[in-house]
Amino acid sequence: MSYFSDIYNGIKTLLTGMSVTGKYFLHSQKGAITQQYPDNRETLKMFDRFRGEVVMPHDENNEHRCTGCQKCELACPNGTIEIIWDRQVDPETGKKKKMIEKHIYHLGMCTMCGLCIEACPTDAIKWAQNFENSVYDRTTLTRVLNKPGSKLMPGVED
């Protein structure tokens, strides 16, 4: 007689399964969990710790905090950061000093691991929150973080 009992149990479990999806169907007007991405671009705000892209913040008179100590370059596992520096005479102290010329950042090779920002002694680089990093031509992925003509902020030592 298990023939009819397992038909009955089978149908009972099928119906309870359908009740779950039915419940969702009836409450579907409560709104879907999916985000309408291209429409909600203005309102969409990522978390402030979101790792979008490494940037070097500059203050109003175009000064940054990077002393060119290359700690981030050593910490980076993928060789994403290259720092081009040369020794120049520092106008105030007259001594030869390591001045940063270009802080090159290959976004294409970056794995967003955050070790460079961890290793930077002077907090020169920060995470930006933008996630739309796709580009048409790969060379634009290689970025120079320090703006042209920017100088080191006074009072930031190695």
Binding site: T21, G22, I33
Partner: protein
């Protein structure tokens, strides 16, 4: 309000006094064919959109909402895309059979629609072997699938096609038998006669317990017949990729896709005709407005189509041998018991008549 019904009459008369007998009926048939083709292409597209929307509501999503207001024109956009797609195929596919297969499937799907009684006047082809014709037609569709699977020279397609062959042949049995149990009450195969018998109570009410069993078995077998829901082994995404229509693209794929939805509509409309009195309103409340019959028919069919969609988005897939044990060990014996039960009821005429 029988203006619309008289349209067919005066077109009919206008044609017949215009041309000789045969030419007129030929022209009339082509007009009907064109009208049916257009109407069911549109219903096919509508059903695809309905399926995607219903699936979305089940799954906490919104479904298509980009093309047109709330995605109404989404399927039209899909159809245009499919029409403009290149008809690729495998290198050493069997060219003739490969191209023939889609037409098998789409033609059988559309042919079966001719017999359905949408309303008192809107029935194109009222032959006295209605149900028998429907069952015969639905078995030809399988040949198209088998041809497609074998001729596209793709191992997955072949497995998919063999599965569909086995599945459809065994499930036709219970489709036929479950319809048979209910036909015992009406005594006739002609669809319009069946609807007449249901004037005093839908067959599902007249045949009460065995009819409900027959309806349940029919719905299970019907979903299996159209390779949908828990029985969609033919194009099991996670096992065979896209099953028999893996190698088809563009318009040929559109035929398969459309045929599947029209088959679903067909199974649902046979169920409404047999079990729920096609265009009869419950207890004859809207008999005064005959043209309302079409809406009753479509309403009931949409409820059943929704039920089949509900199956699809809830149940996992059966394995091929479980599929066959379900048919041969469970549905068939139940069907035969049901026929005996119905025979006793009809013999002692215990059917409920209003």
């Amino acid at each position: 309000m029988n203006l619309s019904l008289s349209i067919t009459k005066n077109i009919h008369d206008w044609l017949f006094n215009m041309m000789p007998e045969t030419a007129a009926s030929l022209v009339e048939m082509t007009i009907i064919a064109l009208v049916y083709l257009a109407v069911f292409a549109v219903t096919g597209l509508f059903l695809v959109l309905l399926e995607r929307k219903v699936a979305a509501w089940f799954q906490l999503r919104l479904g298509p909402n980009r093309v047109g207001y709330h995605g109404i024109f989404q399927t039209i956009a899909d159809a245009l895309k499919l029409v403009s797609k290149e008809l690729t195929g495998t290198v050493n596919a069997d060219k003739f059979l490969y191209n023939l297969a889609p037409y098998f499937v789409i033609i059988t799907a559309l042919m079966a629609l001719a017999v359905l009684p949408f309303s008192a006047e809107f029935q194109a082809f009222d032959i006295n072997i209605g149900i028998f014709f429907l069952i015969a037609i639905s078995s030809i569709g399988v040949i198209g699938i088998l041809l497609a699977g074998w001729s596209s020279n793709n191992k997955y397609a072949l497995i998919g096609a063999m599965r569909s062959g086995v599945q459809t042949i065994s499930y036709e049995l219970s489709v036929g038998l479950s319809l048979l149990t209910v036909i015992m009450i009406t005594g006739t195969l002609q669809l319009s006669e069946i609807v007449e018998v249901q004037r005093n109570g839908w067959l599902i009410v007249q045949g009460h317990i065995p009819a409900i069993f027959a309806f349940m078995i029919y719905m299970i077998a019907g979903t299996a017949e159209t390779n949908r829901a828990p029985f969609d082994l033919v194009e099991a995404e996670s096992e065979l990729g896209a099953g028999f229509h893996t190698e088809y693209s563009g318009m040929k794929f559109a035929y398969f896709f459309l045929a599947e939805f029209i088959n679903m509509f067909l199974i649902a409309s046979i169920a409404t005709t047999i079990f729920f009195g096609a265009w009869l309103s419950p207890f004859g409340i809207t008999e005064s407005l005959p043209w309302l019959g079409v809406f009753w028919f479509l309403g009931k069919t949409l409820v059943l189509v929704f039920l089949m969609m509900w199956f699809r988005w809830t149940f996992p897939r059966l394995r091929i041998d479980q599929l066959l044990t379900l048919e041969w060990k469970y549905l068939l014996p139940l069907n035969l018991m049901n026929i005996v039960l119905m025979a006793i009821i009809v013999w002692l005429n215990l059917t409920i008549q209003f």
